[in-house]
Symmetry: C2
Subunit: 423 residues, 2 copies
């Protein structure tokens, strides 16, 4: 039996979508590595009743429940109190913990020169130092301590791990969570759960589905999810070690049917593959971007160490910039227009020449919502990647809104760089 | 009484964090505009029991429940079936709907030239055409129809609105959802709920908390949430129209205490303010980016119509690029180093000169994780914004990881542009 965990994410800002939750995914991934499956994630605001009913739901269907957020010093930070109540364990002030938190708060505010109301500060510290009877305290990495709260004396049920909201604080506490005996006992039933990913570019989901159906009999014990994003088809499979032969059959089936599009049979992202290929060949790269306006260079630079191959780039949004910075001839811009294969090619070559690199990328397109014409509609993007010896060029008509078209263009560009470097 | 809605988001890829859910936030915002509060959002994978218990939870505490995803043609798409079961309404094949979906599928696959297994396709269509007794069908915008499923005959309870997962499909169906009589009845108790936002830059959360405490007595009826992100402090307040005077008191309090840092009393983002200021002054802008490597230009270009002011930019990751593309003197790079106020200034001026704009931005810093020194640690960023008449320069030591430092640098740069344009 695989142990199961449920997660409560608290925070009105997450509930309303103003902030993207980073803790749920992080915890899910960490738990998966331990062989613990996440069954449900519930997002709640600052209302105690909603938090209470979420806890009751998760406690009924999981071996371990984790909460994130709501541990701050203010009155709307209610998590510890509600968890204590649901687990039937009254809270008491822990004077040692109070002293510890007060010292941290003191140090933090001294460093930043913030004004503080001493009485309110003390009340906040006192609130954060309330510990449910029988709970274990997880030492604060910020100001808020975490808690592991077992069910009430004499009853059985999952423990609740109460974690702070700021991701660095939560992550800093994770080692202590795993070392906690209540937690260890709760997930003792665990069994390794593997997760493997394959990525395809250029295969529609329906073709993959047909292959999966044809091989259905060989794929027992695999939990396969497929997901189309940014034009790539991602196939993520979770399975117990005993199902490894089934996974091998899946991989063989995909390699057989999609030899051309299975660009990552072992899960590397296109970003990783491009970085590795550039490093392996000792090649350098420069970008010339119009509609994406820096997003490609920015994404290449997302990787630590990218300065080994990304020397620079040009954002040439205006036609004059294409002409003056990249040397695209004015008469080319006047005749075929900025969004054309010719200009994409000249941009790629220009980037290579101006920055002095081995590889150049040119992207020019209509991201919309304005600027489309019958000939050159919104979504039309010309891309070109060149080196001294090779040219890879492609025209796309991408769907979606402005952000989607620009994002997809970046992904397409990375794939073209990958193709060029494979030559 | 404000009506409350609960949302179930289905999908293993969302549960494991590989995909960020866009439907929950979109629905929450649409519902908020109608005065409907979202109480809980539950994310579940493809397991029917988890979906069932999530529905039971939400039905118990809300006036309306919405589900997203799990309406596809394959066996792991279970939402309609489970909802029908929970609402106690057996499903029947709707032959008209079956014909309609089959036609759509036919059209879609013809257009893309995909191979298809006719038997599997027919089974998928049949599955998507199963309708719970007494439910309303929402016409498909993709292939999957939506449903509004009332509680079983003779019982009371909230209806469940079953929506497809792809955001454009879901959003395309929203008009029909609002027009549905079951939905209208469920949210009839609604009352307008206003939401107003103020943004501060440079005020710590604790100072704001102190101000809120001091004015506590005047703020009755406001639900205030504060959130620090990317260095900005966002204050979002939800309130019924009757509490408008309390909101005015809040705004006055913030204007009084934080005149210098309250850069957006009416909620505009810094991106909006910069765009408006550039348009108002008819000014153009160019960027020169080292550690951010295009992210600032990319973000300025996020806005439709940005080509009116963003002419271009330079990504000068390597020192040679700073020298050759921007004219930063080699001896300056040799003496004070690339991460210095002098080079940030030269980059800003260089961008302005090379691209030919009114405003130039220079960003140079150590994003890490490598490359830090005792003198110039990871997180040190120098920024400079110049025009013919003004210079705004700032040095920051930003915390966080590589992605965080780069993201924060972009936000800081936007604030400095805002400051320069206000002069």
């Amino acid at each position: 039996m695989v142990a199961r965990a449920g997660i409560v994410v608290t925070g009105t800002e997450v509930l309303t979508g103003r902030v993207v939750d980073r803790n749920g995914p992080w915890l899910a991934e960490e738990l998966r590595r331990l062989g613990v499956d996440v069954g449900q994630v519930v997002v709640v605001g600052d209302r105690p009743d909603d938090l209470r009913s979420a806890l009751v739901l998760l406690l009924a269907h999981h071996d371990l429940v984790l909460t994130t957020g709501g541990l701050g010093p203010t009155a709307d930070d209610l998590t510890a109190e509600v968890v204590a109540d649901v687990q039937g364990r009254p809270s008491r002030l822990d004077p040692d913990l109070e002293g510890e938190i007060a010292a941290v708060v003191e140090r933090l505010s001294a460093g930043k020169g913030w004004r503080r109301d001493p009485e309110a500060t003390a009340a906040g510290v006192r609130k954060q130092a309330m510990v449910p009877e029988g709970a274990h305290v997880l030492a604060p990495t910020g100001t808020a301590p975490g808690l592991v709260v077992p069910p009430a004396e004499g009853t059985s049920g999952p423990p609740v791990v109460v974690l702070p909201g700021p991701p660095p604080e939560l992550q800093g506490m994770w080692g202590d969570v795993l070392a906690d005996p209540f937690v260890q006992r709760a997930i003792a039933a665990r069994e390794e759960l593997r997760q493997s990913t394959m990525r395809l570019w250029g295969t529609p989901e329906s073709e993959l589905a047909a292959t999966l159906r044809r091989h259905d009999a060989e794929l027992d014990g695999l939990e396969i999810t497929t997901c189309l994003r940014e034009g790539e088809l991602e196939v993520v499979t979770r399975y117990a070690p005993a199902a490894a032969p089934a996974y091998a059959a899946l991989e063989a089936a995909l390699r057989g049917d999609f030899a051309d599009t299975l660009f990552s049979p072992t899960g590397e992202t296109v970003d990783e593959l491009v970085a590795t290929a550039l490093l392996d060949r000792g090649a350098t790269i420069a970008t010339a971007e119009s509609c994406t306006a820096g997003l490609l260079a920015g994404r290449i630079a997302d990787r630590p160490g990218s300065s080994a191959y990304l020397l620079g780039g040009l954002v040439t949004y205006a036609n004059e910039a294409k002409r003056d910075l990249l040397g695209v001839p004015q008469d080319l811009l006047d005749t075929v227009g900025a969004v054309s294969p010719e200009v994409a090619r000249d941009m790629a070559d220009g980037a290579r020449r101006v920055v002095g690199t081995d590889v150049g990328v040119g992207i020019t397109g209509v991201a919309g919502p304005g600027g489309g014409t019958p000939d050159k509609p919104v979504g039309l993007v010309h891309l070109c990647v060149t080196s001294a010896d090779h040219v890879v060029a492609r025209e796309f008509r991408l769907g979606g809104d402005r952000a989607g078209i620009r994002q997809r263009s970046v992904v397409v560009a990375l794939h073209l760089v990958r193709e060029l470097l494979a030559r």
